[in-house]
């Protein structure tokens, strides 16, 4: 027994040597604890049912508002929602008093905007809820989902605008009450500009530290370039409105990044955790979706103002549908990247560089002494997928003379060493003789 143990030990050392020749720059595998989540079982929590939690929050509106005001992103959404809703209410009451139909439909449109904002706000709040029995990994994905919903809605809205514009080219509509329309769209423009500035303000700090980390590490080029250009949108937006929407579209598609050798991933894995956390916050699909929504509204107001001015100057009613067409195309083009990135996050697929690292790590697992084979390796990205961390499960078959507990620890150590931030791994160790039926 003791002999065989010694033997395994030496084999282990040997494989470490050979593996270090194939994989360069690997930090020494640390046996880190796997449980970063609360280790208590979810069932012991009292408020683990999400509906219960939400109900308790709704019963105490003060608490809900406090939660919203506690974080910078939810605060900006909440304040803008209040502003938007107030404006909508004023407009609605005025439209009732003045018997204005145009104002009425505009206020209903704003009500739908408020609903979209509310969805984003709820997503932002829910994303911070702890894991529960119903949602064992927390609700981190809810922001991607909200971004996806907003992207889909924007695509649908742009299609609707196109249809309406075509119809109006077919049957031109004479616009009545021009001054009223102009005043309302100007006020709407101001409100939306305030929203854009508010969202921009929340992003500036992160964007700065973000570009900083970009210069250091090249491991996550996709997310970085994406969110860098995202913050670029915000910065350029103050100067000029209509141009900035081109920027999100100019980001490279997710799938087209080069495979980056894992060495750079490893070299900067340790000391950039906080910056990556910030990068993760910056690359928020929920905020991105809301921002695009507000941007679309702003463009709508600008379009109305410009087209009304042109129509009254030239007397041709076709400017209005033309502006609508132009704006809807812009909205569509800016929404598609959002839909793609959030869908990728929800599909739980790995990036090519993660696949590269993972294949390496699995090769490494196979060399652990006592391991006969493994099956069912499933590893998926955590959260919104931009932090690069993975979670996973794997079944390992061991030879009969090996100690399952020792093998389990070694496998865990190797996986944790190779996959930086492999947070909670589940490793089932079976005896090979028991597996074969």
């Amino acid at each position: 027994m003791s002999e065989s143990h010694n033997h395994y030990h030496s084999v282990h050392q040997h494989t470490r040597n050979s593996s270090s020749s194939t994989i360069r720059l690997r930090p020494s595998p640390l046996i880190t604890s796997t449980a970063t989540f609360p280790s208590s079982t979810p069932s012991t929590k009292s408020g683990d049912e999400v509906t219960e939690l939400s109900l308790s929050l709704i019963r105490q509106p003060v608490l809900l508002v406090q939660t919203m005001l506690a974080h910078s992103d939810t605060r900006s959404i909440f304040l803008f929602l209040v502003l938007n809703f107030t404006f909508m209410l004023v407009q609605f009451i005025y439209s009732l008093l003045s018997h204005s139909l145009g104002l009425l439909s505009d206020s209903i449109h704003m009500l739908l905007d408020c609903v979209a904002l509310l969805v984003g706000l709820l997503a932002s709040v829910m994303a911070k809820w702890p894991p529960s029995a119903s949602f064992p990994y927390g609700l981190g994905k809810v922001e991607s989902l909200s971004g996806f919903i907003n992207g889909i809605l924007l695509v649908g809205i742009s299609a609707g605008i196109v249809v309406e514009a075509v119809e109006r080219i077919w049957r031109p509509v004479v616009i009545e009450r021009v001054t009223e329309l102009l005043v309302v769209s100007f006020l709407g423009l101001i409100v939306n500009l305030v929203g854009i500035v508010a969202f921009n303000h929340g992003h500036v700090g992160h964007g700065h530290s973000h570009s900083h980390s970009h210069s250091h590490s090249h491991s996550e080029s996709s997310s970085h370039s994406h969110s860098t250009s995202h913050s670029h949108v915000h910065e350029s937006h103050d100067q000029h409105d209509s141009r900035s929407i081109d920027d999100p579209f100019s980001t490279p598609p997710i799938g087209e990044k080069p495979i980056i050798p894992p060495s750079s991933t490893f070299s900067c894995a340790d000391d950039h955790d906080t910056e990556k956390e910030k990068a993760r916050q910056t690359h928020n699909e929920n905020m991105h979706g809301l921002f695009l929504h507000i941007l679309a509204d702003t463009l709508g107001s600008v379009g109305v103002i410009v087209s009304t001015a042109l129509t009254s100057y030239f007397g041709w009613p076709g400017f209005d549908p033309l502006a609508s067409l132009f704006i809807s195309i812009l909205i569509f083009m800016s929404a598609v990247p959002l839909v793609i990135s959030s869908a990728n996050s929800l599909l739980l697929s790995l990036t090519s560089e993660q696949e590269y690292v993972l294949r390496d790590a699995l090769n490494d697992v196979a060399t652990v002494p006592g391991v006969v084979g493994y099956s069912l390796p499933r590893f998926w990205p955590t959260g919104d997928g931009t932090s690069g961390a993975v979670r996973g499960i794997i079944h390992v078959q061991v030879s009969d003379e090996a100690d399952p507990a020792v093998v389990r620890q070694k496998v865990e150590a190797r996986l944790c060493g190779a996959l930086k931030g492999a947070t909670d791994l589940f490793i089932q160790v079976d005896l090979a003789s028991a597996v074969k039926h």
Binding site: V11, V50, L104, S134, F148, L348, P404, F426
Partner: protein, 440 residues
């Protein structure tokens, strides 16, 4: 020291492969370019006497010279095993691949789907005054989308990447179906809200202007060809729901206990509303007079908008739960309680249970055993039995599809941990359990 030979073989192999690849590379440009390269005096090919698999460092045990009569073998040679197979990389099919792989039937089905779309479009075009027809046309768009999706899933499930796990796509691409369903459901919900707001707006406009609500009665309320298009729409809805079961595909979430016993699509409120309101509109001339058309139209539209929102909301909740990696909390709690009741189990350290897509649950449990227990296999078997029992008892709690659903019958990777609950001819749900036993 003894084992140094193993690593030597590995590195030698690596260098030899590099050397072998070099001449191959250099010959290619030689033939292409006119510049003559001086001939090498020798053209030795480096040969490998024996190529052993790379990842078998512990195969050569004991003495270096295994068959030497001088030494003794202290350790028995382990039985040869194949090198561990890495999960394959499956290419994602391109548009062209998908088209080429389609069978004739599938092409016909896709054609029918586009016809379904066209019928909806026609209905939408003639629904100038009627909100009901507009709402129905929206539902038909949704139906047509669902039917198209079921054909596409049928086509895509012939590809390996769809249903098999790979490193890149750990759960295949089946979640794409959930995602597409969710997108269309969000669309349905949005259209329902849109129609509702439209109705509100109309109502308030009439209230503001205080004009007679029936001011467009002078012309015909419904366009000329309306009855034919409506009949076509009903036919399209019925055919699609029978052939493609598109309602079941998306609307599995909306199976209520009290209408589940109905068959032929009657268990779906959306389907029911569409057909019923079509029948009502067709029968209008027989029992209502023209001035009432607008009012009846608005009332029907309210019902349809409500049904759209209701179905959309319920479906979005179920699909969204899957997309958010959720699970039925009660099921999870029951499983955990029963496991903790096992006498061999000291405590449940961690548990993560979630549903990936219609057909697969992932159940991960980290256990701590009582110190004396040796047999982990029986503990695992017991836990698996508990999971199976709980899932079988709560089949309604997890969304599932019909057994006819493509890409569903195959087990994943042929592993022993893929289990399935089968009830009443329906392949209910498969689950994969990973039971991590911590003995430290």
């Amino acid at each position: 020291m003894k084992l140094g030979g193993g690593s030597g073989i590995v590195t030698e192999n690596a260098t030899e492969e590099n050397e072998q690849s070099l001449p191959g590379d250099s010959t290619l440009p030689c033939s292409a370019s006119p510049v003559k390269v001086p001939r090498k005096p020798f053209n030795f090919q480096s040969t490998v006497a024996s190529r052993s698999p790379v990842n078998k460092p512990n195969q050569r045990r004991g003495h270096k010279y295994k068959h030497s009569s001088v030494s003794m073998n202290f350790f028995l040679e382990p039985p040869p095993r194949p090198p561990p197979v890495l999960p394959a990389h499956f290419p994602v099919p391109t548009y062209k691949d998908a088209i080429q792989s389609m069978s004739r039937d599938q092409k016909i089905q896709l054609g029918w789907c586009s016809l379904h779309f066209l019928i909806g479009l026609q209905l939408w075009l003639i629904s100038y005054e009627s909100t009901v027809l507009m709402a129905i046309s929206h539902i038909i768009f949704y139906d047509a989308f669902a039917a198209t999706m079921s054909v596409l899933v049928d086509v895509l499930s012939n590809f390996e990447v769809w249903k098999n796990s790979s490193i890149r796509h750990p759960f295949g691409l089946q979640r794409a179906e959930i995602l597409a369903g969710f997108a269309s459901t969000v669309g349905l919900l949005f259209m329902g809200i849109d129609i509702g707001s439209h109705l509100c707006e109309n109502f308030m406009k009439h209230a503001i202007t205080e004009s007679a609500p029936h001011d467009h009665e002078s012309e015909r309320f419904y366009a000329r060809g309306t009855p034919i298009v409506i009949i076509l729409a009903v036919m399209a809805t019925v055919v699609s729901s029978i052939v493609f079961k598109n309602h079941e595909r998306i609307g599995t979430a909306v199976q209520f206990s009290y209408i589940r016993k109905f068959k032929y699509g009657l268990n779906n409120p959306l389907y029911l509303t569409t057909v019923c309101s079509c029948v009502v509109i067709l029968s209008l001339p027989f029992w209502a007079s023209e001035p009432w058309y607008s009012t009846i139209d608005s009332m029907l539209a309210v019902v349809i908008a409500f049904a759209m929102c209701f179905v959309g909301w319920m479906t979005a909740l179920t699909l969204g739960r899957m997309l958010l990696m959720g699970f039925n909390g009660n099921c999870a709690r029951m499983i955990l309680e029963e496991i903790q009741g096992d006498s061999d189990v000291k405590s449940v350290e961690e548990s993560r249970m979630w549903q990936v897509h219609y057909g697969l649950c992932i159940i991960n449990i980290k256990l701590r055993l009582q110190g004396s227990v040796v047999d982990e296999t029986s503990v695992r078997a017991n836990v698996n039995r508990i999971i199976g029992d709980v899932l079988k008892a709560n089949l309604g709690a997890v969304a599932m599809t019909d057994s006819k659903s493509p890409g569903f019958a195959t087990s994943v990777n042929g592993s022993m941990t893929v289990n399935a609950v089968k009830v009443r001819g329906k392949t209910g749900i498969q689950w994969e359990s990973t039971i991590d036993i911590d003995r430290s």
